[in-house]
Amino acid sequence: MLTRRAFLHASAALSSGLLLAPWLQTALGAPTTGSAPRRFIFMHKGNGLFPQVMVPPSLNNDDKDKEQRKQAFSVDLKQHELPEWMSPVAEHKSQMTILQGLSGKMCTTGHHTWQSSLGVYKANEALTSIKWATVDFELARMFPSPLEHIELACFPNDGGNARGNINGIEKGFSARGPQQPNYAFGSPKVAMQELFKSVSSNQSDRIQYELERRVLEFTAGNQSGLAAQVSGGERTKVANYVESIDSIRARNKKLEEMGDVIRRNLPQLDAKYLADDLSTTNRQWGHTEILLATLISGMTNVVTFTVDELGTHYTGLKGIENERVNLHDVGHGKGFGSLNADEIRRTVRTQHMALINKIITRLKGVPEADGNMFDNTMLFYFPDNGETHHSTGVEWPFVVFSGRNAKLDIAGRYIRLPYYGEEGHQTLGNWYTTLLNAHGNPIEHYGELDVALEKMKRNQKGPIKQFV
C-alpha cells in the first residue's frame, strides 16, 4: 500500500512543473516528440444509461446467461457485434471498452446529481456538499495546461444544475476543490467568446479582452506595491494574492504566445452553432468543435462535457427534429412525435456516439510523437446518475475509448465486473482510483465509501487491479 508520504512526494513531483513541457511544445509549434501529455474527455449524460442496452447482441448463450445473472465475465469485442446504437463508433471498436458492473451508491442518485458522478460523493445544490475536487480536476492537475480544465455543458432547461441561463457560464458538474464548483460554458457562443478572446477578430471582444488585461495589470501593480511594504507571514498573505493575479496574467500571456496555434485550430462554426436559440443537437456539435479546438491547440488536456441532463428539453433529434423532447418525461416512458420513449433514448445515445466518433476521428488525424493525438487520449461516456431514470446507483455503465498509449489494459473488451455486493465488486471510487493510480497519483482510494458495502465487510478501497 502506498503511504501518504509517497503520495505527497509523487504529488510534489507532478506539480513541480516538470510536465509542463508538452503543452509548451505544442504552443511553440515544436515537433511533439517524446512524452506527449495525457488527455481526458469526460462526457456524461442525464436520465441514466440502461445496463441492458450496453450488451453486445452476439454473446453466446453461456455469456448471455452470465449477463442475465450479472455474473462477472469478459469478452473480446472483436468477436462481437456492437449494439446498434453504437454503430457510429464501430470503427473504433478495438479501442473501446464497455464496462459494466460498477456501482455508485455513495453518490447522489435519482434525477439530478450535480458533482456526484465525478466526485464520488453525495453532491447537491449546496456548495457545502462538494467534498473535494472531482476526478477530472485531479487528472487535469497531473497534466498541467494553460487553462487546466474546460467544462462545456448542455445545461438543463429545468431542475438540476444551473437553473436558468443555459447559454451562460454557470456552475457545472465538476469541482475544483472542496466547496468550489467549477463553471461551465453553456453555449458554443459563450465558449468561443471567453476561450478564444485572445485571438478574436471581433473588435468588441478584442476591446473587452484588452480592458480585462488592463484591470489585471492595474490590480497586480497595486498589490505588488502593497506586498513590498510588509514582511514575514503578512507579506505572504499579500504576495499570494499578487502571485494569483500574476499566474492568471501568465496564463493569458501563454495563450497569447500560443496565438498562432490557437488561430490555426480555431473552431470553425457556422452561424447556426453560434445562435442563442440553437437546437440541442447543434449545441452538442458546437461544443464538440470547441472541445476539439482546445485539446488540439494544447489549451487544455482535460475537457468535461455535459452532453445532456435530465432537465434538457431536446430539440433537433433525428426523426423528430421539430419536437421539443422533455427527457424527464422520456424517463417516465412518454414518447414524442413518432418515437416512443425507448426509441428516443436510442436516438439520443446514437447522437452521442456520433459526437464521440467525430472527436476520435479528428484526434486520430492530428500527428503527435510517432502517432496521433488519440494515442494519448481517453474518453469516458457515462451517465451522471447511474443505471436508469430513478436510479439507485446499483450500476453505473461506462463506455471508454482509449488510445494506443493508454495506461489501462482494457481496450477492445466487454467487461462485466462482479455485481453489487458480490466478492470482487467494484465501485466508481475503485474505477477512478484505478485511473489516478495508473497515471501516477498513488492515492489509496478516491471517493466516498459505500456504507452498505462496508456493512457487508467488502473491501472497497483501492484500484481495480486487473485493469492496471
Binding site: 488592463r214 498573505k237 456504507v451 462496508e454
Partner: protein, 840 residues
C-alpha cells in the same frame, strides 16, 4: 511500530551526532553542529540511537543520502520532540531545561536560515494551540505584556457576505432574505475548515482559487450596480439582465422609498462625453466607501483615475465605471481585516489599534457586520483609546438584544423557521457550536437501515436528521448562553433538552390541552363507527381545538385531518398515557422521527402506531431526559464524533483531551493504517484494545481511549444502550421485516468504564464508571474551565494564545468566576484586554 516520523527524527539526531563535533556539511547546507549542542545530543541520544545500537533500524550511511528538504523536515520534527519533551523517552535520562533549550534553539536557527518553518511558526497553527504550557499560562508568573502580532485577517464567510451586501447597499430586511441561500452570482470564496474547535484563524492567505472566484464575483456585482442604474434610467429589465433566472438587482421595489445610493456612478453612465476629474473622483470615493469602508487617499485617487481614463478612452464611460468597480473589489483589502496599530509604539514596542481599527475589531468580534453608528462615532471622536473605552462599547453591544438577533446558522432557516433558533447574540452561540463541533454530524454518513429507518441522511435541500439534532443542540446552547450563569458547567451537565420543539411553550401547551379535551369528550362516542355524525354533533368543539378548516367531510387527502384520523392518533397517545406531537404525523413535510435517538419512543406514524411504547410529547421545553448530561451526551455531538457504522472512542477521547483538558495528542503517524480490526465476537472496546495496546500505539492512545471509552454507553446514533450489538454479518439473528428496517444482531455486554487524567486535580482524576461520572468530574475541574477560556480567546482573537497573553487569560478566568459563570463577562474581559488592543 517504527514510524517514518520517528525514524526521520532519529535519523536527524544521529546525523548530527555522528558528524559532530566537527564541522559538518549536512542537511542544512553549511550547518555546523556547535560543540555544546553535539555534547547534549551525544549524552542523551547516542545510547539508544548510536551507530551500534541502531534503534529504529537506522543506518548512518543511508542517512547521509537524505535530501536537503527531508533533512530540514527532520530538524523541524526534532525541534518539536526536544521542545515538547517527547524525546528522550520518559524512562531515559533527561537533559536539563537549559540543555533542551540549547538544542531546540539550534534547530530553530538552522531552520530559519533555510527559510523552513520553525516551531515558532508552527505554534500559530490551530493544532499547536495547546502546546503553550497551561500551568505556566495561568501561573501568574509571566510578566510579558500581551499583544497580537500586526496582521491581515482574512474575513470569515459571514463577514464576506455582509461586505458584499454593503457594496450593493442592502438594508437589513434584504440582507435577512439573502443570507440563507446567498446571491445568484456571488460564490463565497472562503470556507472555514470543518473541524471541532475554533475554525477562523488569522493564518489563511488568499490563493489562486480565491482570486478566480473573486474575479467572477466582482464582475457580477459590477453588473448589478450598473444594471440597477440602467433600469432606473428606463431600460427594460429583460434587456439589462438577460438571464431570466437572475433578474434581482439592488434597491428593487424600494427605488422610490429609499435614498438612491449610486448617484456618483449614475452621473458617469448618463454622460455621453468623457467625465470630469471631479466626477471620476466622486465615483472612486463612492466605491471605496461601499467596498472598503474608507475614503481613497490621494495616491489611490490618482491611480484609479488613470485606470478609468484609459478604459474610458477604449471602451466608454460605462466600461470605465465597470472596471473601476471591479478593480476596487479586487483589492486584497476587501477580503482582509487590517489590524496594524497606529501611532508611536509604547515602551514594549506595541502600537495600539487606531480607533477605526478598534471599531472593526470589536464589531467583528461580536457580529459579522462592520461597526454600528455609535462605534463609528466613538472612533471618530477618539473615544476608543483605552481599556475603559473598549469595555464600554463591548458591554453596550452585548446589552443590545436586538441588533445582532438572528439565527445561529442561517443555512438552517429553510428547514426550521428562524424564530426556532433565533438568539440575541448568535456569535456567542457560534463559539460553543464550533468548540463542541456537533455540526459535524452533518458530515458523518449513516446507513438508514441501521437506524431502523429513522435516520434521514442530509441530501438535496435538507440537512436531514443531523440538521434537526444540530438545531436542538443549538437551542440547548443558546438557552444556557442567554441565561449567562454557570455557563460552562451548565453546558457540560444540563439534563434539560429540546426535542421537536417547533412551537413556543404556551402555544404548544394550549394546543395539547385542547386536543386532550377533544379526546376526553369524544372517546366514548361512536366515532369509530360513525365519524361523520360525531364530527357533525361536535362541530364547535372540533372547530375550536383542531386546526380550523382541516376537518374535511368529503374524501380525504394525504395530508388532511379527519375525525377518525385524529381520534386514532389521540387514542394511541392520550389513551395510553402519553401526548401527541403538536404536528400531526400526516402533516406535509413532517419528518420529526428522531426521538429514539434520545431514547424516547418513536413518533407515532400512521400504520405503525402499535410498534412502540406510547409517545409522550413535552409541549413545555426544555425538559429533563434520563441518562444524559450536557452537550457531550447530545445525539448531535455523539454522531459528530462517531464513525459511519460504529462509535468512535478515539475521536471522542481526543476531543476531551484537547478541548477540555488543554492536552495534546499527536496526529496519526503517516505510516499507520489506522483501522480497528473486524471480529465477529468482540466488542468495539475489545477490538480497539487489540489495535492500540502495543507500546508504541499506547503511547498516544492512552491519552484518548480511556476518556472516549466511557462514552460507549451511547451508540453511534447517540442512543443510550446497555448492550452492544455485534454488527457483523455472521451475527444476524433476525433479518429486518420491513423496508429500511434494522437487522437484529447478537449482543455482548457493555463495559462503560474509563479513566480521567490530566485535570491536575487528584480528587477528580481516576477511574470512572461511565461518561456521566466523567462529565461530573470534568465540570468541577479548574483545568476544564480554563481550557474553554483558552478556546474562547482563540475564537475572539483569531489566533493561538502566546505566553505573553497570560494576564489576559487569567483576567478572563477571574471575570468568569467573579461573575458567577457569565460568558459575557469572559467576552468583555477578552475584548478589552491588552491582547486585543495592542499590535506588535
Amino acid at each position: 511500530m517504527k514510524t517514518i516520523v520517528s525514524l526521520l527524527i532519529l535519523a536527524g539526531l544521529l546525523l548530527l551526532m555522528t558528524e559532530s563535533p566537527v564541522c559538518a556539511q549536512n542537511a542544512a547546507g553549511d550547518a555546523t553542529v556547535p560543540k555544546d549542542v553535539a555534547a547534549v545530543l551525544n549524552k542523551f541520544c547516542a545510547e539508544c540511537h548510536g551507530e551500534q545500537t541502531r534503534e529504529a533500524e537506522l543506518r548512518l550511511d543511508s542517512l547521509a543520502s537524505l535530501e536537503k528538504t527531508a533533512r530540514l523536515e527532520v530538524m523541524g520534527k526534532a525541534q518539536e520532540q526536544v521542545a515538547f519533551e517527547l524525546m528522550p523517552p520518559q524512562d531515559a535520562n533527561q537533559p536539563s531545561a537549559e540543555q533542551r533549550q540549547l538544542v531546540a534553539d539550534w534547530f530553530a536557527s538552522e531552520l530559519r536560515k533555510n527559510n523552513t518553518p520553525t516551531l515558532e511558526d508552527k505554534m500559530r497553527l490551530p493544532n499547536y494551540g495547546n502546546r503553550v504550557d497551561h500551568a505556566k499560562l495561568f501561573s501568574g508568573e509571566v510578566k510579558a505584556k500581551p499583544f497580537t502580532p500586526a496582521r491581515r485577517w482574512l474575513v470569515s464567510p459571514q463577514i464576506f457576505t455582509e461586505r458584499v451586501f454593503d457594496v450593493l447597499k442592502l438594508d437589513e430586511r434584504e440582507r435577512a432574505g439573502k443570507r440563507p441561500a446567498g446571491m445568484y452570482g456571488v460564490t463565497n470564496p472562503f470556507t472555514l475548515p470543518e473541524r471541532s474547535g475554533v475554525r477562523d484563524y488569522d493564518l489563511t492567505a488568499v490563493d489562486g482559487g480565491h482570486f478566480l472566484v473573486m474575479q467572477t464575483n466582482a464582475s457580477w456585482i459590477a453588473d448589478r450596480i450598473i444594471g440597477t442604474i440602467r433600469i432606473k434610467l428606463g431600460e427594460p429589465v429583460e434587456k439589462v439582465l438577460e438571464n431570466k433566472a437572475d433578474r434581482w438587482y439592488p434597491l428593487r421595489g424600494s427605488m422610490g422609498g429609499k435614498a438612491w445610493a449610486f448617484d456618483a456612478f449614475e452621473v458617469l453612465i448618463r454622460k455621453t462625453s468623457p467625465p470630469t476629474q471631479d466626477e471620476l473622483f466622486a465615483a472612486i470615493q463612492l466605491q471605496f466607501a461601499n467596498a472598503l469602508q474608507r475614503p481613497a487617499n490621494e495616491t489611490e485617487l490618482r491611480s484609479y483615475l488613470g485606470l478609468m481614463r484609459e478604459v474610458i478612452e477604449l471602451g466608454g464611460n460605462t466600461e470605465g465605471l465597470r472596471k473601476m468597480l471591479v478593480a476596487v473589489l479586487l483589492e486584497s483589502e476587501f477580503v482582509y481585516r487590517l489590524e496594524f496599530g497606529a501611532g508611536e509604539p509604547d515602551e514594549f514596542g506595541r502600537r495600539m489599534l487606531s480607533p477605526r481599527e478598534a471599531s472593526y475589531a470589536i464589531a467583528y468580534a461580536l457580529g459579522d457586520k462592520g461597526p454600528d453608528a455609535t462605534l463609528v462615532k466613538a472612533a471618530q471622536e477618539g473615544r476608543l483609546n483605552s481599556k475603559d473605552d473598549y469595555e464600554r462599547e463591548v458591554k453596550r453591544l452585548l446589552a443590545d438584544v436586538t441588533s445582532f438577533k438572528g439565527p445561529v446558522d442561517p443555512a438552517y432557516r429553510n428547514e426550521h423557521n428562524d424564530a426556532y433558533i433565533s438568539t440575541p447574540h448568535p456569535k456567542l452561540v457560534r463559539f460553543f457550536r464550533e468548540f463542541f463541533g456537533y455540526p459535524l454530524s452533518l458530515r458523518v454518513f449513516k446507513d438508514v437501515e441501521r437506524s431502523d429507518g429513522l435516520y434521514r441522511v442530509p441530501d438535496r435541500g435538507t440537512n436531514g436528521t443531523p440538521g434537526y439534532l444540530n438545531v436542538e443542540a443549538d437551542r440547548v446552547v443558546a438557552r444556557i448562553v442567554e441565561a449567562d450563569r454557570n455557563v460552562f458547567v451548565s453546558l457540560l451537565t444540563t439534563d434539560e433538552f429540546f426535542v421537536y420543539h417547533n412551537m413556543d411553550n404556551e402555544k404548544g401547551e394550549k394546543l395539547i390541552e385542547g386536543w386532550r379535551k377533544v379526546y376526553e369528550t369524544l372517546k366514548d362516542t361512536n366515532w369509530k363507527q360513525d365519524p361523520e355524525q360525531v364530527a357533525k354533533d361536535h362541530a364547535a368543539l372540533l372547530q375550536q381545538y383542531v386546526a380550523p378548516g382541516a376537518m374535511k367531510g368529503k374524501g380525504r387527502g394525504v395530508h388532511e385531518t379527519d375525525l377518525s384520523r385524529i381520534m386514532t392518533l389521540f387514542e394511541v397517545t392520550f389513551g395510553r398515557g402519553g401526548r401527541p406531537f403538536t404536528t400531526v404525523p400526516w402533516a406535509h413535510g413532517n419528518r420529526f422521527w428522531h426521538s429514539p435517538f434520545y431514547n424516547l419512543p418513536r413518533t407515532p406514524r400512521e400504520g405503525e402506531y402499535d410498534r412502540d411504547a406510547a409517545f409522550d410529547y413535552h409541549p413545555v421545553q426544555p425538559f429533563a431526559l434520563p441518562h444524559r448530561k450536557g452537550i457531550l451526551t447530545h445525539p448531535a455531538w455523539l454522531i459528530a464524533h462517531s464513525q459511519n457504522a460504529a462509535t468512535d472512542p478515539i475521536r471522542r477521547g481526543k476531543w476531551i483531551r484537547e478541548k477540555l483538558l488543554a492536552g495534546s495528542v499527536p496526529d496519526v503517524p503517516i505510516t499507520v493504517d489506522a483501522q480497528i480490526p473486524e471480529h465477529p465476537d468482540k466488542t468495539l472496546r475489545e477490538r480497539l484494545a487489540t489495535a492500540t495496546s502495543k507500546q508504541e500505539c499506547w503511547k498516544c492512545h492512552q491519552h484518548m481511549n480511556p476518556l472516549g471509552l466511557a462514552f460507549e454507553m451511547y451508540d453511534d446514533f447517540g442512543r443510550y444502550r446497555t448492550v452492544e450489538q455485534l454488527e457483523h454479518p455472521d451475527n444476524v439473528i433476525a433479518k429486518a421485516k420491513v423496508k429500511y428496517g434494522a437487522d437484529t444482531y447478537k449482543t455482548a455486554s457493555l463495559i462503560t468504564t474509563g479513566r480521567l487524567d490530566g485535570t491536575g486535580d487528584a480528587t477528580l482524576d481516576g477511574d470512572v464508571t461511565d461518561a456521566l461520572d466523567m462529565i461530573d468530574r470534568l465540570a468541577k475541574s479548574e483545568r476544564v474551565r480554563q481550557s474553554i477560556i483558552r478556546h474562547a480567546f482563540r475564537f475572539f482573537l483569531g489566533r493561538n494564545e502566546l505566553l505573553s497573553d497570560s494576564q489576559t487569560l487569567i483576567n478572563a478566568d477571574r471575570a468568569y468566576i467573579s461573575s458567577g459563570g457569565s460568558f459575557q463577562a469572559v467576552v468583555v474581559s477578552l475584548l478589552s484586554s491588552e491582547s486585543i488592543m495592542y499590535r506588535k
